[in-house]
Symmetry: C2
Subunit: 117 residues, 2 copies
DNA sequence: TTCAAGTGCAATCAATTAGTTGCATGATAG
DNA sequence: CTATCATGCAACTAATTGATTGCACTTGAA
């Protein structure tokens, strides 16, 4: 589970974490774990762990400012994951199209009279 | 973890499962758990569980043919997840662009002499 | 300087998960 | 009909995970 893709998908598989990620996305200047914990139903420590996991996946970055640590979103990892998915989805669709065409051609050669004029 | 998005990301967060998904993508006619288990380092039962999880996430479908069950890929869920990610990534990038423009404008109004002519 | 606020660390716990093994069921080729 | 092959089901184990709690450390403000 330690490769790049895995950690990103794993990070996004938890609703609490997705929620945090979306909160970060709404806040260009970032949010601290303590702030985020106020709006959440779980403890600050739980939030911290989630944020660190998001950061580890490349979905967030932590920036220290005095005694506060501001987490802000980062979208490179998200973009990569999105591409990973869509590349495969479209490869599949292409493959299906080829297959379908093959079936159609076979049909046409079997019953040439039914061919589109 | 039971919502649509969660199960898709969770399904894709496991390397073994991603490997299986990719094998299904290469095989338009589908593969049985037994076939897939031959190329894998884990037991057939493990493969079955992975395939069922993929199916549950909408990344695969199981089609029974006599005593065999063929699993084939399905890309709707992948496409949805991909969109989920890219929508958020681009919203963030837009937000950053606006922010940046704000900073630029402020700079210009402060030092009007440096304004582009 | 003192003290409160924000964070970091570690131990612990319950639930989930990836994997195994053993055996039962069901379909098909001889 | 009867082996046999593919699948299904159940119990079990070890590792991981989401969450909690208590306490120590660091920083900033009064």
């Amino acid at each position: 589970m330690s490769d790049d893709v895995s950690v990103v998908f794993a990070a996004l598989s938890d609703p609490t974490r997705r929620r945090l990620f979306e909160q970060l996305l709404e806040q260009p200047h970032g949010r601290t774990a303590t702030e985020l914990a106020d709006n959440a139903s779980v403890s600050r420590q739980a939030i911290v762990k989630h944020l660190q996991l998001l950061a580890n996946a490349g979905l967030a970055v932590a920036v220290r400012d005095g005694r506060e640590v501001h987490y802000r979103a980062s979208t490179d990892a998200a973009q990569h994951a999105s591409v990973w998915l869509s590349v495969r989805a479209s490869a599949w669709d292409r493959r299906l199209a080829v297959l379908e065409k093959g079936v159609r051609d076979a049909q046409n050669s079997k019953t040439p009279t039914s061919r589109r004029r």
